[in-house]
Amino acid sequence: MPTVVSDGSSCTWVGIDGQGANTPLIQTGTEQDDSGGFLGIGEGTSYYAWYEMLPADQVTIPKPVSPGDEIIAFVLAGGDKPPVPNQPATFWIYMNNVTKNWYWTKSFTYRSRLNSAEWIMERTTTCPIDNWFCGYATLPNFGTVTFDGEDYTNGLNPVFFPADEVFMTEGNTTLASPSGPDADLDGFTVAYGATQPGPPGPFVVTTTLPEAYVGIPYSASLQATGELSYQWTGYGLPAWITLNPTTGVLSGTPTTGGAVVFGVEAANAAETDETSGLQELELTVGTNPPPPNFTITMTPDPVELLKTGPSCRNSSTVSIVPAYGFSGVVQLSLSTTNTSFAHLTSTAITPGETGKVVIMSNPCPVVKSALTVTGTSGALTHTAILQVVPPVPVNCDVFVGDAPKPLLCR
C-alpha cells in the first residue's frame, strides 16, 4: 500500500470488468488520500480498504491498513459452477493484509461481463455533497506501488505483456506510468509521474557462461538484479555441476565434452514466490583446454592511503587466480616510480596463497599514483596495476570540545 505525500485522492485495486460503455465493475483495493484542508479544517491523510460493485457505492472493509502494508486481494468469479457472462453468479472478494495479519472475505451475487481483468492505480472520482463540481480528483504523489501475481490455489497467474500497459494522462501530461512486466510476467510497478519505472525484480542478468574443459575444475558466478539477496535454483543441470543456492556459483569438473543447455532461476530470498522466471543458459565443454594460465588480482583496488601521524600507509592483498589447471609458482615483482614508496611481503606465491603490497609514504602524497605488480611463471608473464589514492583531507573543524581528534588535527 503506497504512501501519499501530496494532496489528492487515489486508490489501488484489482477488478473484473470496467472497460467499455455501461460496464459493470467489481473491484477491491485500498484508498490513499491526502487533503490539505481549508484553513486547517479537514487536513491530513486517509487510508482504508474497500470494495465496490458498480453501480453501487463503495463499502469500507472494516479492517486497518497503513502505508507500506503488503496486501493480497482478489476478486473471484465462480463458486461451484462456471460463471456465465451477464448472468447472476457468485463472486468472492478476498483481502489479506499480510503486514497486519488479517483476512477478510465476503461473497456476493453479481452479474459480470467477465471480459476484462485489471490491476490499477486510479485517481478517484469525487463529488461534494452540494454536487456543485464533480470529476477526477488530483492524483497525489504516491511514489511507486508494485503488483505481483500470487499463486492461490492452482498456480494460475496473470501473464502481462507490454501491450496491456495503461498510462494515466491528462491532456499532454502523463500522471502515472506502469513498468514493463517483471521477468515471470505476473507483476509490475506503477510510478507517479511520466517516468516509466523499471519492472520489479528479480532478473537473471547472466546470459552467457565462460567455456569449460573436460577434467579441469570449472566455476562461474551467476548474477541477478532487483533484490538484495537471491535463492538460486537450477533445472536440468548436468550431473557434474553444482549450483550454490545462496551464492549462485556454478561449479564442478566436466567429465565429457560438448554443449549442455540448462535453466536457472533466481528468487527473492526474502519472498521466494517472486522469481525471475527461467533463464536458459548454454555451456560449452571443450576437450582441448588451453594451456594453464593465471591472472593477478589485488584487493582492494584502488587502495586509499590512511594517515597515521605525519605519514600515510595501507596495503592491498595480492593473489593468483588459476585458469585451465594452473598450479605453478608465480614470482612477483613491484615497479614504482618511487621504490621507497611500497614493497611486497612475498615475492613468490602459488594459487591459494596471498601476498601483500604494503604502501608507506612520508610525507603523504597529494595526488593519485599507480603501482605495477608483475607475476612470472615459466614463460607466462602477467601484470596488474594498483591505483593508490591519497587520504581524504580531514575537516578538523568538526571535532569540537573533548571529542578525540585525529592525529592530523593535533
Partner: protein, 198 residues
Amino acid sequence: MKTLQKALILGLVCLCVDGAKAQTSTNTCATAARNCTSATAKSEVATFTVTVNPNEKAATREASAGRPKIERVNDSYMMALEKEHSGTSVEAPTGTLIELNLPPEMGATDFELSPPGILVPRTGIHHMPRDVVGILTATNEGTVTIHVFGARSAAKYAGTSGNWSGYVENGGPFFFGNGGMDGADGGERRQFLYVGGD
C-alpha cells in the same frame, strides 16, 4: 478526506479547498476551482443536453436518434454519454444512470450541471470504470446541460486513460482452470495482487 477541487470567494481571490494551488481570478470561483490542481489550463471539451422524461420507465433499449442505448447493469439501467454524443440532445427515462465515458485524448476531468437538480451526481468517492468521469442519476423532469471540462491531448495514444494506470487484460477468460475452489468443476476466474508500498 477527499480532495475537493472547489474554491471559495475571499474577496477577489479564490482558494482551492485542497490547498494545492491558490488562484487569483475575477471570474467565478467555479472557473477557479476547475483550475485548482491542473497542470494545464482547462477548457470545455464536451457538452451534452439531456432531457429527463418522467413518463418513461428506465429499461433497456437499443440506440436510436437522440436515444443512446440503455443496458442493464445488475439492478440498474445505464446509459453512456460518449464522444459521439457531444453537442447533441439526448433523452433519458427517470431513474436511468448516466455515465460520462470519454476517451483520454479529450482529457475530460470534471463537469458541471446547468441547471442542477435534474441529474444528480453520486456524492463522495467512487472508483470508476476506465475513462468514466462521473455517473449521474436522472432524477427529476427537465432539460439539463452537462458541461465537461478538461485538457485535450495533442495526439491520440493507445494505452492511455484519464483515470487508470496499470495493466488490463481484455477478452476473457483471463483465468480458467480445472478444479477451482471447493471442488468446483471449472470456470474459475480470479485475480490477485500484492500491493507493496515503498
